[in-house]
Symmetry: C2
Subunit: 253 residues, 2 copies
DNA sequence: GAGTGGTCTAGACCACAAT
DNA sequence: TTGTGGTCTAGACCACTCC
């Protein structure tokens, strides 16, 4: 039962009580919550109020509801670690990129769809690539799948002048991928920078990545630099935050 | 007006239409949406339905509502970059840690609250510190503020045997902070690893960090290693995803 | 005081899952 | 067929902001 004099909205009281039961384990992972009609009786509120409470928990990522079945406590995410700062030349030369290496290591079947196009750089891209806004860039838009499930979206952009006449402008870049073709063209890569953030997904991303409610995406913008410091590629990646963690390591000195 | 035969729920149609107006700029950043009663008339649906639509946009982080004023398009986040992989010894020796360096660089007034305690390591912490579950660890629980506003939560854990008799067990660790005291005690730091993820905040985190609806937190778990590979500290940090981006850089070889 | 969002009710009907 | 969540309505009253 809710306390009507406390000033705290009824749906928040219900949400807090259910959240408490989840975090203390009185409702354990995978377990079904009482039905909405039961909660109506238990707390003495109307069904819309119960639904508001459950919505709070859904957008916190604590529960998922399944139409016709019930509302369930979300099991803790099964998080996979991606070692990022090991994107070294030797590792790159052995395969077509980090994704295929992961596939080999974790035993899933990788597949990708690629769209290649050309566009004018907007301010953000121009800033990363140190070119003028409006300059032509080659865009490789990739959807990465593991065992058929979409696990990552990646949009790579390069100065058009660096890709003309190379396989980078083809759907299949060949062994070693984009970076190998860049180095063959004389753009020896010297360093990488990654900018990591997070936000809620767009509806498109949510459906592509099959995200549950209350699951953010991790965004990674990688920039690859040549030895003379000229940026040659920027890659915007989007990953499901409940499936991936990114790991970086470096020396103390 | 919504299409009642399309099969798409009315509140999703309204949400999609408003989202469209926002992303195409017909409703620009900071601009006020029509009032809920106006939207009721425009779309021919009831107010609860309009509210459901607005709720969708709120949990996507696209709009914020202000009681008594209206619903507004959220301006693009003002994202600050934190250079992570530059946590080198020389940088550390010049100040009390990365946070104070940022304060100096960006001109805000830093302040922190610290609680020191001791606890038994759970499985996760024991794994990071390579100790047995239940072993005693020193816990430094910090709230970091910039100009009085909470910007980061950080919980640092160290094997108790490494902190006994040092200022690490005091609220004020002195110049150079925890890492300086560790090195004085003979634990020369050799490398760092950071594991980066994201999730929706707990209600506590949301109120401490003053997060708007639909804003995730970025979680960073840093582990500091000694030259012999023994982990000496693990630090769990929580940051507002709409205010911070983490930057890592490394050489290609 | 007028307009805004915030909360809440008591229903109704639909869509889906399991039996 | 029964029970579940999903959608939707027509209202009511409250709390806050601004004039």
């Amino acid at each position: 039962m809710v306390d009507r004099r406390s000033g705290v909205p009824a749906f928040r009281q219900v949400a807090a009580d259910l959240r408490n039961k989840i975090t203390t384990g009185r409702l354990s992972a995978g377990e079904q919550l009482p039905s909405e009609r039961d909660l109506v009786d238990q707390y003495g509120v109307s069904r819309p109020t119960v639904r508001d409470a459950v919505n709070v928990l859904r957008s916190e990522g604590l529960v998922t509801s399944e139409h016709g079945r019930g509302v369930f406590v979300r099991p803790p995410a099964n998080v996979q670690r991606l070692a990022r700062s090991r994107l070294s030349r030797s590792a790159r030369e052995e395969n077509r990129g980090a994704f295929l290496a992961d596939a080999a290591a974790h035993g899933f079947t990788p597949s990708t769809s690629v769209k290649v196009s050309f566009e004018a750089a907007d301010d953000r891209v121009a800033g990363y690539l140190a070119i003028e806004t409006g300059a032509e860039v080659t865009v490789r838009d990739r959807v990465l799948r593991a065992d058929g499930l979409v696990v990552q979206l990646a949009v790579s952009r390069l100065r058009r002048e660096f890709t003309r006449g190379t396989a980078i402008e083809q759907v299949d870049t060949g062994p070693g991928g984009t970076y190998a073709r860049l180095e063959e063209a004389g753009h020896r890569l010297a360093s990488f920078t990654e900018h990591v953030g997070a936000r809620m997904p767009t509806p498109d991303e949510a459906s592509l990545l099959q995200l549950a409610e209350g699951v953010p995406v991790v965004t990674v913008t990688r920039v690859a630099y040549r030895e003379d410091g000229v940026p040659v590629e920027t890659n915007d990646m989007v990953l499901a935050a409940d499936r991936y963690q990114l790991s970086y390591e470096w020396a103390a000195d």
